[in-house]
Subunit: 397 residues, 2 copies
């Protein structure tokens, strides 16, 4: 059983703050500064170029990938770190489209994060072969899985509402129709009990700065299933995905396995911070996290609905179809959220009217949830916001 009091004690949480925005950027693991200093001074400083071998820098992308694989139900050896999530989306999509060369439709939904759609647009324009990005409503995805579709690209959890897709059922239906799947785990890695292997997902990508607490701009990851990992052609065929990078051959030959999805030099310093965060994750299992997440989000909904009649739940009510965040709709949501933030409860706002709260069992507990709900009640019942004081100004999702 995961000891959540122990995990909470391993993060720096500013005094008096209830941080419900870990679905945007997770907090600092207490061990990160010392771990980073060791990498800076003892590795970079003392080893210099020899750090690539002596400090195993070159292996970090796969060894850290394996630590994340456990959290997303992936096979060992099938996850590699690097680049940003958008680049990884491009990489997965480019490979997937090419593996289904006779079809021209990329199916996605309007609940996908815009960058995924933009990357698909960019790729389609580069390929210039008449591919169509077909964006349907989230609830219409299943009905749009047809034999026309080359690739289904979905983000499991809607970044606004927290609506959770059924990865298993959608992947099954996709495969029944010869469709290759690309799953974006931005809002599920570290949040739900993702089961890539059990769902037979083909490709998956995700970021590590949200629930995984890897720090601002932490590296992304990519997963390729055993079925495709040795036949997927990397569109970005970088030297570190080469079968023999240090032979400096003139022509590209992809590495076997997931290493072909490595492009350039690993971000050693960023991986060091992520590694500190994974030391906390090593103390957990995702079934516990998911169970606790449901308890926390259910509790928040119950408390807020009892206290704040002005707010309308904008997330699925059934915890089984919801990620680890809760959204409430409210006309003056932006201003009200600023009032919450001024009172130490950090959530986020998404236009036009969504107040979004992320629940992260590693460092948020029931007492935090109730305190946050009470502060929200205070803000709402006393109308502690000024519509005119705040202009809508967004932050990073």
């Amino acid at each position: 059983m995961t000891d959540f009091a122990a995990t909470k004690a391993m993060f720096h949480l500013p005094e008096g703050m209830i941080y419900l925005d870990g679905n945007s950027l997770g907090p600092l693991p207490l061990s990160a500064p010392a771990d980073m200093e060791r990498v800076l001074r003892d590795e970079w400083g003392e080893m210099l170029i020899t750090g690539w071998n002596k400090a195993d820098w070159m292996q970090k992308s796969t060894s850290i990938g394996d630590r994340i694989a456990r959290l997303i139900g992936a096979e060992t050896g099938h996850v590699i770190m690097g680049d940003t999530l958008s680049v990884k989306v491009y990489q997965a999509l480019a490979s997937a489209v090419e593996l289904n060369p006779d079809r021209r439709v990329i199916l996605s939904d309007s609940g996908n994060f815009p960058s995924d759609l933009y990357m698909a647009e960019g790729l389609i324009q580069s390929l210039d072969k008449g591919h169509e990005l077909r964006v349907v409503a989230p609830e219409e995805v299943a009905d749009n899985i047809t034999d026309e579709v080359a690739v289904m690209m979905l983000t499991e959890v809607d970044y606004r509402s927290g609506r959770l897709h059924d990865m298993k059922a959608l992947t099954q239906k996709a495969h029944d129709h010869g469709v290759i799947t690309v799953w974006d785990l931005a809002h599920t890695a570290g949040a739900t009990d993702v089961q890539l292997a059990a769902c037979k997902a083909d490709f998956a990508v995700g970021c590590t700065y949200k629930y995984l607490n890897g720090g601002p701009g932490a590296p992304a990851f990519i997963y390729v299933s055993p079925k495709y990992v040795d036949i997927a052609r990397p569109a970005m065929s970088g030297w570190l995905g080469h079968d023999a990078p240090f032979a400096f051959e003139q022509n590209y030959r992809p590495h076997t396995g997931i290493e072909r999805m490595r492009v350039g030099t690993p971000p050693v310093l960023a991986l060091a911070a992520l590694s500190s965060a994974l030391d906390v994750w090593d103390m957990t299992n995702m079934a516990d996290i998911r169970a606790k997440s449901k308890v926390l989000t259910d509790l928040f909904i119950a408390e807020v609905e009892a206290r704040c009649p002005e707010l309308t739940l904008a997330s699925p009510r059934d915890a089984n179809t919801r990620g680890s965040q809760v959204a409430f709709a409210f006309e003056d949501g932006y201003a009200a959220m600023q009032a919450m933030i001024a009172r130490g409860v950090i959530g986020d706002f998404r236009a036009p009217n969504i107040m979004r709260f992320g629940f992260t069992p590693l460092y948020i507990d029931e007492a935090d949830v109730i305190r946050a709900a009470k502060i929200l009640e205070d803000v709402m019942s006393n109308r502690l916001w000024d519509r005119d004081e705040y202009k809508i100004k967004s932050t990073v999702t």
Copy 2:
């Protein structure tokens, strides 16, 4: 005039080591650990999600880009940080090829770093429009600039020999034939007096972990000239290159200017380390660096040729056609380099027989050069290596 004693004092150089591999990975700036700790504790730790605004994280990619722009003769506002060099090569090349749609030849040379050629191969295969990657000998590039060529993609300095291309003349000839240029500055940014604007270079890319001392896996940069920056289509059209990233629109609209070349979330921690290194660069000017580099490399060649008749110069003898590194050919070069490393002189080896030494005026001075040459003399004249002890095992370039 740059005060090189002052800059040298700003790096951690391990006791007794003469580090002649700064062309692979620069040393740790002494201020980096404290700077990084401040970003970790005061920014990530205390500000959390608000750091994107409060600590200006979102602006770092361009503000740091501008600090690098000064070092490579680029216009302010035309350099942006992010991703790895290979990804930036892909990005520049994809845009450049599309800007010359009626031509099918990408011209490069065998002195280019393999990853650049691999990325071109990968892009060509994705485009599937019959592009040809034409790789000629470095000295034959000029004669191969014809009206058939869409893009000329060259690394200015050969990573083995240190041979320096004439950017101005080749770019001029390219333009005379309607060819768009992509320059890779991996071995010239921070090493030579690059003049992108004066040479009218179209696109340029580079890494920051070599001469610029940004740390292992430090972010790359991309430059797009005023002529193309507002018309180049980003193949990787990520949300942070969108004109209004936080409007979360469903369709992509590129940002004006260099920001369209941003893809995903900026690597904040890696940029913090790079920023520490740039604090040293802020004390320099590249004309001084280039002049001192010529003095150091000329001195090393003279000393080694006087002391080590077994070694054959494999770099251009004229400093004006050489980057900031010196290569000597020697049959047992790998073993001899290991013997040098065991004696505290860190150089590198490139198959089949190249002993490579990088000279970095920021922290290498004449006394270091002479001491390194004396140790090399000792190794060579006393044959202080064991051919059998070392197998060829390469490190990162």
